[in-house]
């Protein structure tokens, strides 16, 4: 095809339902076989730009559009959907929502089926896509039982069967663990090498550069702030908005000459009696099913801020569900403040231990934030006179003052997340457990969230340590463990593999890789500077030590 795959010319867009421009004067050209990385924080316009490229704007989302979007020289707004679908293939953020069939074969065949292609042609396209992505072993499987990484690849195969020349990947790493993300990025690179034009929308720049993008497009407030090669990024790119590799952050901080205050050293605490004790805990759902936990021993002490790392499906969630009593051990026992969980109801344990599930949408239900926060304390039959005080205090702790009368379901994702934390705060539990606290949020938002929770100032404790005797969080994000935790647990193969200070647990790269935890640039930089720093620090603070 002679024309360039994609030409965007002074594109501007405003959603009908919103007052501000979502895109302003965006121009861009892409060559065949080029891999473009589009980065920016949420609300920067990258999702809107993606919708303009795949034609959802103006078809499904109404608003005012001006400028041009040309696919191989043809205006996207004028192309019939079947044609457009064969030029741009879109992989949506959450494969869970992209997959529309119950089994893998049907999922991959879905697009060609819709085009009304002959059966033989469809079968050969499906088999091609399966072998291209090395997914033959999944051909007859149910989509529901696939792992996150497998779902992603199956969804991609379903896009490839349409033979698109342009691939649009919308935050494809969001729901993957680091090892799966790494594999996915290699696939994206190879697709570009085969001549597809690949557009990768991703705020985790550090991870995305593994796909060796030819260029980076950085957006803020609907405008292009930078478009150019990925090496030697200019200062416009704000390292607090997108996640850059740690050495880049250090260079930037040094170049700016700003002094970054080092977080104060946490006070050394006496180890009190353990709050939660796992004694030789083994668990399986049924006597004919395999064990998920085997002989787990663990003590959670006051002052602990524990990050639990490990591959998906290793049993991390099963482990913490035992602490709250949602699951009871098959053998061994779990003690919460000295009492066996077998003898306690979940509601009784909830007074000691608050559990924040991964997705706020799984728990928010009430018409107002106020009622949402009263739910727990009322269930636990707290003194009705005290409940309003608990509710108000937790609201101000998570910075949601003034939102008491808002409907939680109408809040932004980050606000919803903080509402779920407040809901646990209001129950006055002593221990906070969070499952993937950063999932679903972009880098800028989750950094802000974690800083709000964990930051210690000279004269005050952090929100976490002021309100909870101990905190434990499960995460894929190794940097969270590096930056915020004072204890790390590596979990794999049904048991605890390593337990201790982050700098001790995380120093063994081979061990980490064995359990699908990929060392990050921040970890490596911290390890190399450890003799000087004596502890792990966030990237900005390392600038003071780095040569």
């Amino acid at each position: 095809m002679p024309e360039k795959p994609l030409v965007i010319d002074s594109l501007t867009f405003k959603y009908k339902t919103r007052p501000e421009l979502a895109l302003e004067d965006v121009s861009l050209e892409l060559k065949q076989g080029e891999l473009l990385l589009i980065a920016g924080s949420s609300g920067c316009g990258k999702t809107t730009l993606a919708r303009c490229i795949n034609g959802l704007i103006p078809r499904s989302y109404r608003g005012e559009r001006s400028g041009k979007v040309l696919l191989h020289g043809r205006e996207v707004a004028d192309m019939p959907i079947p044609e457009m679908a064969q030029v741009v293939g879109t992989l949506l953020q959450d494969p869970e929502r992209q997959i529309v069939a119950s089994n893998v074969f049907n999922e991959i065949a879905f697009g060609p089926e819709n085009l009304g292609l002959p059966r033989g042609e469809i079968i050969s396209r499906v088999d091609q896509a399966l072998s291209r992505l090395k997914l033959e072993y999944l051909r007859e499987r149910e989509t529901f039982n696939l792992s996150g990484g497998e779902k992603q690849k199956v969804a991609l195969a379903g896009v490839l069967t349409m033979n698109p020349s342009i691939l649009l990947l919308d935050e494809p790493l969001a729901s993957l663990d680091p090892a799966s993300a790494h594999e996915a990025l290699e696939v994206f690179r190879s697709l570009a090498d085969e001549g597809k034009t690949v557009i990768l929308v991703e705020h985790r720049v550090e991870d995305a550069i593994e796909a060796k993008p030819d260029r980076l497009l950085y957006m803020e407030e609907g405008r292009i702030k930078y478009l150019g090669p990925i090496t030697d990024l200019p200062k416009e790119i704000d390292h607090t908005q997108v996640k850059l590799p740690a050495p880049w952050v250090v260079r930037r901080v040094k170049a700016q000459g700003a002094t970054v205050k080092e977080p104060p050293k946490p006070p050394v605490q006496e180890r009190g009696d353990p709050l939660v004790v796992f004694e030789d805990v083994s668990f399986r759902y049924d006597s004919d099913l395999p064990f998920i936990l085997e002989n787990v021993n663990l003590k959670i002490f006051p002052g602990d801020l524990i990050a639990v790392l490990g591959p998906n499906g290793a049993g991390k969630s099963t482990l913490v569900k035992h602490a709250i009593g949602l699951l009871k051990p098959t053998s061994g026992r779990v003690l919460v403040e000295g009492q066996d969980t077998r003898k306690l109801s979940v509601a009784q344990i909830a007074r000691t231990l608050g559990y924040v599930f991964q997705s706020p949408t799984h728990m928010l239900y009430a018409p107002t934030v106020q009622e949402e926060l009263e739910f727990g304390p009322k269930n636990l039959a707290y003194d009705p006179m005290l409940i309003p005080k608990f509710v108000n205090e937790s609201l101000s702790t998570v910075n949601l003052n003034g939102f008491a009368e808002y409907p939680p379901l109408g809040l932004s994702f980050g606000q919803q997340k903080r509402t779920t934390i407040a809901a646990v705060l209001a129950m006055r539990s002593k221990i906070l457990i969070m499952d993937e606290p950063t999932a679903g949020q972009d880098f800028a938002n989750y950094t802000h969230f974690m800083n709000t929770m964990c930051d210690v100032s000279e004269d005050a404790q952090s929100v976490l340590s002021a309100n909870f005797a101990a905190t434990l969080f499960i995460t894929h994000d190794l940097d969270l463990a590096v930056t915020y935790a004072n204890r790390a647990l590596l979990f794999g193969d049904r048991r605890i593999i390593a337990d201790g200070k982050p700098q001790d647990v995380l120093k063994d790269e081979e061990l980490l890789l064995k359990y699908r935890v990929r060392p990050t640039s921040l970890l490596r930089l911290n390890l190399s500077l450890l003799p000087q720093t004596g502890r792990f620090l966030p990237a900005e603070s390392l600038a003071a030590y780095a040569p």
């Binding site: 959603y15 339902t17 919103r18 499904s60 989302y61 109404r62 239900y365 018409p367 409907p407 939680p408 379901l409 109408g410 932004s412």
Partner: protein
């Protein structure tokens, strides 16, 4: 909500018909494990409110498919078999409720909520009448038996659920819808 006509049938209706059906099926099936309020031979199935809500929010086709397929699915995963006339009856419940969809402007407004609940109750009546009367024909029972044995308990249970839970769902939906850019 969207200004398409009441009887439009496109991707949107397919997706919400399927989602409504899956939810209705799952929640009906969950009733096997979750203790439900009951009085005499009337059981209150909260799943019905979800069905009526899908009709109200997404129109008559969605209501019908959610009810018909959802009831079939619920029976299937509970292992009951296939009772076609009850599936059609459930479909009619959703369909009639869905007739109000085009009139609902604000899911929080009292007037709109009352309208939705009224259509919901009429839908419950129509759907359960259909199912009960087909039982009359197929089982050879008389009118009184159909009324006392099938219609009245089903109607009362479902109508009460509609009155109580549909408004709660609508208010929650108003908040969710406010976040959407479409």
């Amino acid at each position: 909500m969207n200004n398409s006509s009441t009887w439009e049938f496109g991707t949107r209706q397919v997706v919400y018909g399927a989602i409504g059906a899956a939810l209705y099926g799952v929640l009906s099936w969950a009733s096997n494990f979750v203790p439900l309020p009951a009085a005499g031979n009337v059981t209150f199935r909260p799943a019905v409110a979800v069905l009526i809500f899908f009709g109200v929010a997404y129109g008559p086709w969605v209501g019908f498919l959610a009810g018909f397929i959802g009831n079939t699915l619920g029976d299937a995963i509970s292992g009951w078999g296939f009772f076609w006339n009850w599936s059609v009856g459930n479909g009619l419940m959703g369909l009639v409720a869905g007739l109000v969809a085009a009139q609902i402007k604000d899911f929080r407004a009292q007037g709109d909520i009352v309208k939705a609940v009224i259509y919901g109750i009429v839908g419950v009546a129509v759907g359960m009448l259909f199912a009960s009367f087909t039982e009359m024909i197929t089982s050879g029972i008389d009118f009184n038996t159909a009324l006392v044995g099938y219609f009245v308990p089903a109607f009362i249970g479902n109508a009460v659920v509609t009155v109580i839970l549909v408004p709660i769902l609508m208010i929650a939906f108003a908040a969710v819808a406010s976040r959407r850019g479409r």
